[in-house]
Amino acid sequence: MTSNQFMFLLFSAVIVIFSILTVTSRRILRAATFLLFVLASTAGLYFLLKYNFLAAIQLIVYAGGIVVLIIFSILLTSHIAEKLPSASLMKKWPAALVALVGAALAIVVILQYNFPGSVGSTELVDVTQVGNSLINYGKYGYALPFEVISILLLAAMIGAIVLAKKRKD
Amino acid sequence: MNILLLLIIIPILTITGILFAREDKHVRVISAIGMTFQLIVSAIIILWFLAERNAGNTAEILFASNYVWYETLNIHFYIGVDGVSVAMIGLTSIVIFAGIFASWDVDDLPREFFTSLILLSSGVFGFFISLDLFTMFLFYEIAVIPMYLLIGIWGSGPRQYSAMKLTLMLMGGSALILVGLLGLYFNSNPTGGPLTFNLIEIARVQIPLNTQLFFFPFLFIGFGVLGALFPFHTWSPDGHASAPTAVSMLHAGVLMKLGGYGCYRVAVFLLPQAAHELAWIFIILATIGVIYGALGAIWQKDLKYINAYSSVSHCALVLFAILMFNETAMNGAIMQMISHGIMTALFFALIGMIYGRTHTRYINEMSGLMKVMPFLAVAYVIAGLASLGLPGFSGFVAEMTIFVGSFQYSDTFHRVATIIAASSIVATAVYILRVVGMMLFEKIRNPEYELITDAKWYERLSTGTLIFGITAIGIAPLWLSTMITGGLGPIMQKLFLAMN
């Protein structure tokens, strides 16, 4: 077992375990914390794959931004000590069944398919390259999506403000 | 311009006139004027038709016009009449004319009422003059839909229920019809080439027997629902009981005839072999309907129910006669449609007028009305006598033609069916005389009835027209019979080929 394999399995185990905990924990703040671990481990996977920039974004935006946002909203809407009522079995069982069947199906398909091996370098991706691509409008340039996503973010921001604003009435 | 188009244009103009009427009071006058014109035009058509025939014009269809309507699917607006449809046009215009006057005192939303009523009648006229299956179906639907509004809004009793039931059952029937029509359409040209809805052209095509056997029940039952084929008749008692007077008249008088006419013109005419193969099933059903309706009527207490069951019985006789596949019985079927149409319209008109005075439709609550409203009572007796098939009225002519025609088979099945159907004349006498005896005769028990007044002028006009219709046919039936027989040629030819 190579170190890569070991690290992968370690991160995978963390991801799977905490994912499960995230969706089953009855204390909502804990669930958010577990989610944080999951996201952090995902960032670890990105590091493993040598996408350092991506991993950083993952940590900053996801773990730093979104999870904090979630925690804020939890604090706004619930009591910390409050335990969530557990879902009824009538809901759990079909959902679990669907999830299991779906997962099994996907895994079987994946295992049956013979993926080609690694073909290229395992080089670290350069941030300069990333930056250039983002503002490049030629081939392999992502200027347009970048702008689109910027507008989306702006719109979301405005939307969120409008929505969350207290009504005057 | 084709004179038949007037039959559709006049109702449309009348409706336009109603919409622009300044006051509600004008509405009925406009309707009356429009429908009077309609009656006149119908009379002209009939006379012109007879004149053409006398002049030796033997074309299958007279006054035919053909307009392309939707070219892609080869849908035409193809109109024309033969002896049968011209008779039906006469029936419709008489009934709608009387219906307008019978609803003279509708005060509740008269504009909408008369609009729907006339729209309905235009659908019926369109149905009878159409020779293209698609337009026929279109007009059929136009005739059925306003019924829902008319019963649901202006009806009485459990009107929403009845209206819904009636509409849904008839819609179910039209769904079957649509399937059948599409079946005909897609088999209308077995050699390839453009498909057609044209009734006359389809009639020339030899449709394979299996296809015929498949689509015949759709068409026959589909139209049969409207023609009160047992056991699909139950919309009729409730529908008639809840409907306002003119609607009952038009519905029992004309709309139910659409069913019989459809069975005759579409199902049997276009699918003769299947009709011949499957006739026995429907003969049994129709025979049951005849005797069942008559016996069912004996027990009823509500005037409208009695007449609804009576209609079931009489309309079943129409289907019964159509299924006999010989000229005499067919002739009788058409005459029975006309006779029953006028007669039952008269019945419902009178029931409406009586109800308007006594505020009850239960015969055991009424008595002695002959004394206070002799005109209406005598008219009711006349309608009753016509209904039980008294000579001198149209019912006798029609029934006897049917019985003589259906007895021209040598096998026991047809004979027994005929004898059973004929025995309904006794049951009919029982329920008619029971009503007449209970309602009109004896002494007045309810003192309030002493104050009842006899018919107003418009009621007299309405009933008078209808009585004139039944007696005119009853006393001199030969012209009508000849006219209808003239139209039966093609179908008899097809049936003859199918049966041999």
């Binding site: 077992m1 190579t2 890569n4 992968f8 991801i15 799977v16 994912s19 995230t22 969706v23 909502i28 989610l35 996201l39 995902t42 996977l45 794959l49 040598k50 996408y51 991506l54 935006v61 996801y62 931004g65 979104i66 946002l69 979630i70 909203s73 706004l76 809407t77 619930s78 969530l84 879902a87 759990k92 079909p94 959902a95 679990a96 669907v98 999830a99 779906g102 997962a103 996907a106 895994i107 994946i110 295992l111 993926f115 080609p116 091996g117 690694s118 073909v119 290229g120 395992t122 390259q129 990333v130 691509s133 983002l134 996503i149 989306l152 973010l153 979301a156 409008v162 929505l163 969350a164 | -």
Partner: protein, 105 residues
């Protein structure tokens, strides 16, 4: 092979994560936890993109950029979603998804 980790491992991991997210989405009652499940699902997709990119087409960067955009979208989505949740909470003092059935027949 990416230095001993086959592509299918990544895919299996993301599949598991995805369906855990689905399970959470279907089962949880609290709107915020449902939002968290959604984040799980998005995340699993990101892993796929990245893995495909790195292992099959290392010289390209589509997968990576997709992931970046997904993260951005997720951020936008989360903010809007949380705004909505807070709004709902203000209105009905509850964010139980089962109580919200305005779309019922």
């Amino acid at each position: 092979m990416f230095e001993g980790v086959p592509l299918s491992w990544f895919l299996i991991l993301s599949t598991i994560m995805f369906f855990i997210g689905v399970y959470g989405f279907l089962v949880r009652k609290n709107l915020i936890t449902i939002l968290m499940s959604t984040e799980l699902i998005l995340n699993s997709v990101c892993i796929n993109f990245v893995a495909f990119n790195k292992i099959l087409y290392p010289e390209h960067m589509e997968g990576m950029f997709f992931t970046v955009f997904i993260i951005a979208v997720a951020a936008a989505e989360a903010s809007v979603a949380i705004a909505i949740i807070i709004n709902i909470y203000r209105r009905i003092v509850n964010i139980d998804v089962e109580k919200m059935n305005e779309m019922k027949y």
